[in-house]
Symmetry: C2
Subunit: 289 residues, 2 copies
DNA sequence: GGAACCTGTATGATCCATAATACAGCTTCG
DNA sequence: CGAAGCTGTATTATGGATCATACAGGTTCC
């Protein structure tokens, strides 16, 4: 009766360094402490430190130079996709990037209770279940599982689903899609999503669950999407509205600011040369044990 | 030469079952396949299956009955908090739940480059850095790291920060907060957040990064928030707008629909009694430790 | 009651992540 | 150049996770 399943030490160190890099504590271009130093600092062997660095290198967060050191990789090779709230990728096309879809699974099944209930199905009613993967420039970034009532799914073919957006097929069938509710959350990659997204099991994933209703309130689509956080994230602009007693944020409507996003990415990329490591402020929290 | 850090087998099976339970594939009250069956299915030993089930049981997702079986726990003990886009928890108060804040760290430091740049600071300018944990009914659910320019941070005290919302303090100082941009993503828990949120290292977390600007475009707050996905998620209602060539989703404004959320929670809670498997199972779970 | 399940528990063998150490080859810098 | 770093690689040893097996005790159902 003791420790439960503790993550591997290598993984723990990997996460620690990863957090410091992402938080900007270790700026791009900076040299990491040497492997012996890291090993001593975390009270592990150098082999374990190496395995942690292997993970960071595989993710492109770090670059190793034999004889010289290990450096935080500047100018992230893969720029993440940015989607606005409504999950529109319109500005992707502006950037000249191409998306593709691969259909992994297609069939008619009895739905899990939770989905049947969220779509408002009658007991025994079947659904069309499909699993797709979306790719950006050939790299997978999202894993989509959709459930559609059978009567609606029958209005299009498997080939059509593989070629066109599901929502377009639904609307083509004459169904009006007017309302939707969605929830954003996080989870860990299970075996299938991990394989499809080219990740290891246990990697973090961003999830989006959306239920689309027609004007009568009938559920027409249940979407469960998993996104690779390094290749996809949700962005939004907010404005402060309301009068004094009740000020709060509200999403700013209108086209997403592709220009601003691009600017932020660029400036982030080339700002590290005149810097001379000003005493590294946040070390205070580290030592705890 | 194979390596890569593969998660422990027990953890992998834990993740798999957990996903199936959360996805509703294994409905509440359902009996899981027996330990020998699971062991055979995943090609591991029964001991390993047991360790995975231990984790599920510790999280309250599953309940074991010696001699009988292992069952999916119905009526999740902790209901997740639901926030709308603007991250307002107003309906929490309606539900009679109380939130609290614990200040973990407070001080003035030299900011990481990424944060200095996103706030538009001059080189050498220092920032106030604070780390707080928010609790709901005594349980931690979010881990907030904020960076505020020094000139602004000096307008309030450490004690005030521990007691009042940061945005309120900022506006009290006379600064107008008008615009903000935010990004939602997912990550894994590093050591400090894991400890503060009562999680294991490597647990999935929902992240929110928000940068608040005043009307002149000057950055006044950089917020990095980590949320426990089992206790917090973002919800939003969408409406379909635009004319035919340019249909897309847009967030539905207006007050958050606490009523609808409550309804959804409730129906989810009691939809498994008139179910069509009166043979076994419903009676099985009655007693609760 | 009794057969057929189930979970709980114990045992010893095996495999793999980690530790400890040593050395090669490279880069940086005085 | 040469010392002092660094990464890359190999070695053996150890401990924990996992395996295979067996048995105890409870539940379900005939």
């Amino acid at each position: 009766m003791k420790s439960s399943v503790e993550p591997l030490k290598a993984r723990r160190i990997y996460l620690l360094l990863r957090d410091r890099i992402i938080a900007g504590d270790l700026p791009p271009g900076e040299r990491l402490p040497g492997e012996p130093a890291l090993a001593a600092e975390h009270a592990v062997s150098r082999v374990t430190v190496r395995r942690a660095l292997d993970l960071l290198e595989k993710e492109g967060l770090v670059q190793r130079k034999p004889g010289s050191g290990t450096f935080v990789h500047d100018s992230r090779a893969v720029r993440p996709i940015v989607a606005d709230l409504s999950n529109v990728l319109s500005h992707l096309i502006d950037m000249g990037r191409s998306t593709d879809v691969k259909l992994l699974s297609f069939g008619y099944v009895a739905p899990p209770e939770a989905i049947a209930e969220s779509l408002g199905l009658k007991p025994g009613e079947r659904v069309q279940r499909s699993v797709r993967v979306r790719l950006i420039d050939g790299e997978p970034f999202s894993y989509l599982t959709t459930h559609v009532p059978e009567w609606l799914g029958l209005t299009y073919s498997e080939a059509e689903l593989a070629a066109r957006p599901l929502l377009e097929l639904i609307e083509r069938s004459g169904v009006k899609t007017e309302r939707a509710t969605q929830a954003i959350n996080a989870t860990l990659a299970g075996p299938e999503p991990a394989a499809a997204l080219d990740l290891e099991i246990g990697s973090p994933l961003l999830t989006l669950t959306r239920i689309v209703h027609d004007p009568s309130g009938r559920g027409v689509e249940h979407l469960h999407a998993l996104y690779r956080p390094d290749r996809y994230s949700f962005h939004m602009d907010l404005v402060r509205i309301g009068d004094d007693g009740e000020r709060r944020w509200s999403p700013a409507l209108g086209r997403p600011r592709a220009s601003e996003i691009a600017k932020a990415e660029k400036t982030k990329a080339d700002k590290n040369k005149a810097g001379e490591k000003p005493t590294r402020g946040s070390r205070a929290i580290k030592q705890r044990s």
